[in-house]
Symmetry: D2
């Protein structure tokens, strides 16, 4: 870490700062420029409070030299992690197609969609039983019953299931679930992350609407620091001023996350755009950007879907897309 | 709600949409423009899935006529709500100054700061016992012990206490707390909001980093729809491209929220800016914009604070500020 | 256009508004909901000042039914426009690869890069002679001399040239240039756009850093309304909170612009990311999203480039990329 | 400037970088941490291309030690600059109230508004003769005729006039104008800034919609580096995801700009919010934040205004506001 002092920093205040840093077990190296002074910290600076220093009167700016995460960093773990989603590998060259409805609505619905997406080549089945909704008056999922129908669909098709956990008190209900999803709004629900770190289940961690890549990786770090190394990162769009799509899909996050971390990175073009006719081009773009998988909403009757039908593909459209995705993937990997 | 159809919408698909809407108990009024057709929905359109319709092939755009919240709307409740924070009124002409350290660090620390802010005119004491931290390696609060010290500080000074709840499983520990704070990262932790709606405690709800005013009000609605009408809204900065301050304090939210809702609105300039020397001008600006209160971080020794010292005022600086705030408030209200 | 009135709008004020609208030659259709009233405007509402109405006391919200642009709209011109860039077709199924250095630095430099990119399959040569720079102390281009070297490179390779015009007073110097680029910072330099509309040269119009698609299309409309229909739109990244890349490449703009407009849409992954190692994945992603072309910075010695070397590919890396782009394009178009 | 190298930076590439920097006349100081190396540059690093270095394979990050501007920096000019707007001082303790209509519409209109705002205490008259409009079909001002009417209003009232220049070719027409405004969309029209730097007129420079404070100051630097030191900075709202107001007024820019620069800083709450009923609270907030002046739109008949009537105050409302502003200013300065 390097601390750049203001040009008018009083010598005694500088001394105080140096003492305070040395008291934290750090070695100090001064760097005197023509107008200003910088202080380099040698040792484990991860405990130093960056924000505190940034706000001191004598400090102009603090530059991090290393990122504050370790377990998810590629520096400390150069090889790609391959997450094992109940037998389906994700990452490290293994591409995973996850598909299904936004919400589980009935046994019949989820089983028939599961069959359709399996036939089109999906590797995992998604479907929400607990649904985060902005309004308290919207449909919030079938809950335990929805989980039951997902298990039936898995039995019928063999597809492992991915579904979202919102409230840590429901963890028991997820014992038999293959991959637990943490939604964008819970990306910084730190108590939830810590508890999921104690399980041994693969966690699909979605990037929050306004979170940087550093924050996403620190949230992954919460899970990993608690002992669970099976984390899949998911880019699903960020909030910007742009108003034609629900969110702005930040595909440069895919190669950047691959550079910073060894964890697999997938893309969810359905939530990112919120518009069914943009899902296919964005799915292909995500594949071309090097994603390790996609998460696509598919519904047999989008107009009657109980949530987010706007962004769902029909099983037919999904089959066409899945085929193109495979070919783009082959071209890019070649 | 008004649904604008695409200029090339097929007649039979239009018919299908109208049937689907009528099946939901709505009356339909067509509006034919020169090039396009719009459909107005009469009746309770709050159950209609806006996003679903927005994504239909034949739909160009959906305009809401009414906001999707009711209990927190000024339309249905024209008078200001006055929240009763253990005897201290907030809103409806009553200005509340909330002050204290970011984190409770020791009994001695919180008691001495409580005395100082009380002497300077604070109405409520803040202090974090459970601290959300971006990194799993940062200090995350004294937890139950911190709550104990807060209660001691209340006994010593008579100031009611405000402190953050992060995990719904800790709710029991907060039985004796006067105002429960929901942090920005939990603004859309819907299960938490629902549980807090079942209590009868005042809730201080912070706006999320990337949340619109509509979303903030819908989160308040979660609490109110569960039966708790004691909600204080808090603007604390949003995330933008601007990089000189930690967040961008959106003060126009203050008069806008007052227009949309009857709930009190306070401003937290400490978290918004992250820089102690900007806290006073932004506190005065928030007061001038019509806020019903302020939440200010105060620490007796910012450089030794265990978190967010960067943004804390000394008790002396706070006393000077509190006095100016009172005078600006008088001028603006005159 | 539909105007939604506030629930408490006084009858006489409503009457005034209706008169004012009728005086502008519009027919009015009222739409009375349970709680609120809306007014539909029939006729040419493009002259009505939306912002004025939005701010009236009795108005809650104004919804546009049609977009405010015409010439660039797909509604009024369903077939794709094919821009003729001095013999090279762009759009309507024709993919254009534009490559070259950020800035022209010498005759030798631009000629050697032009040869290299031509060999790798580029269709057009780019190179800046007039460079917009954030700081007045940075290199701002060779100006007229740079244009001369570009013409030499064109003679040597046959590649048509694309280069940026910043100041309308320089227009004469561009008489012999094949495609004139309008940079992101000038996207709303309306006088410049109007003048370019009077030429018959293809214009490559870059999206501004914080501009919506509507604003981009209205800027195209400025050019087209002045008589020039040869406009190429370019997505080059928008400004968001995300801080790992220089800008956030908004690839969903590609299919969305194709839906809204008949103009060709290209992608510039070099400026969007600012990081050379992200250019290839983002170029492939843009191709997969359906772009009609790419604009890629290539420099024979990035470390000695006089500007933006950070984002330039070597000619070797460009050749590898160009080949992959062709194959992804074929796969997606198949 | 400090360059942080990647942990795996090859020794020979490091050597190359050091040579390249030394060739630019800089002295190098190495700083070896436990895992990584940093390089400090001593000397005039303002010519070094930060973006080039940031993108090199061996570089992790570049931290600026000093800001890239000089003339507008408070470091090099500690006292406040007082701009002389034709006899009216702005900055350094002098508060300037600028008021008038968005657009000049007729001699009668501008004269009558000028009289009204003068009576209410305005110091300068604003009014647009050249209007930047997003759509080519909107009213774009009376141009030369508008300037003539402004001069008449000045004669009648003695108020100096502020008006926007959009096209550098019109500069001659502005010879008799007191303060030239550069609009938000032209903040990075560098050729325009350079030309204005050659005049000796006060320039009111508005912050662009998506520009950082550094970029705003570098644009001021363009003007000052060309010889004109009479620059007034203006915060007028930035573009964010927030959708209730037209823009988000970033009031923390006021104290931050005062810290970074000696130039006066004013606030335009009318364009920032776009909603007349938010103008007064935001004007008071800007004053409380320490602004050196305000720019307020006033129109005698907002509903008939030819542009931006939505955000204009009536003369009566302006008089009430001006009085409150004076009292808040006194309270804050006391």
């Amino acid at each position: 870490m390097i601390v750049i002092l203001r040009h008018d920093a009083a010598a005694e205040k500088q001394e105080e700062l140096v003492c305070w840093l040395e008291a934290q077990g750090l070695k100090i190296q001064r760097f005197d420029g023509e107008f200003q002074t910088a202080i380099g910290l040698i040792g484990d600076a991860s405990r130093v409070d960056v924000e505190l220093m940034s706000g001191l009167d004598i400090v102009e700016k603090v530059c991090r030299v290393s990122e504050p995460y370790r377990d998810c960093s590629r520096k400390h773990h150069p090889q790609d992690t391959v997450v094992n989603a109940c037998g389906v590998p994700v990452g490290g060259g293994h591409f995973a197609m996850i598909a299904g409805p936004c919400a589980v609505e009935s046994e019949e619905q989820i089983v028939s969609i599961a069959r359709a997406v399996k036939a089109a080549g999906a590797d995992l089945l998604r479907g929400g039983a607990f649904k985060p909704r902005t309004s308290p008056y919207d449909f919030s999922g079938l809950k335990a019953e929805g989980l039951k129908y997902l298990r039936v669909a898995r039995e019928e098709t063999g597809l492992p299931i991915v579904t979202e956990l919102m409230d840590i008190r429901d963890l028991e209900l997820f014992e038999d679930i293959d991959v637990i999803q943490v939604g964008a709004r819970n990306m910084q629900n730190f108590d939830l992350l810590r508890e999921l770190g104690k399980t041994r289940k693969p966690i699909l961690l979605k990037r929050g609407l306004a979170n940087t890549l550093r924050e996403l990786l620190l949230s992954a770090e919460y899970i990993m620091a608690s002992g669970n190394e099976q984390v899949i990162l998911c880019e699903r769009g960020i909030r910007t001023f742009s108003d034609y799509t629900r969110n702005t899909l930040d595909l440069s996050a895919v190669p950047m996350l691959h550079e910073l971390s060894h964890l697999p990175v997938i893309v969810d073009p359905s939530h990112a755009t919120g518009i069914a006719r943009l899902v296919s081009p964005m799915a292909l773009a995500g594949t071309a950007a090097g994603a390790d998988g996609l998460m696509i909403e598919v519904h047999n009757d989008p107009m009657k879907a109980r949530c987010d039908g706007a962004q769902a593909l029909t099983p037919q459209a999904f089959a066409v897309l899945a085929d193109k995705v495979r070919r783009v993937r082959e071209t890019v990997m070649a």
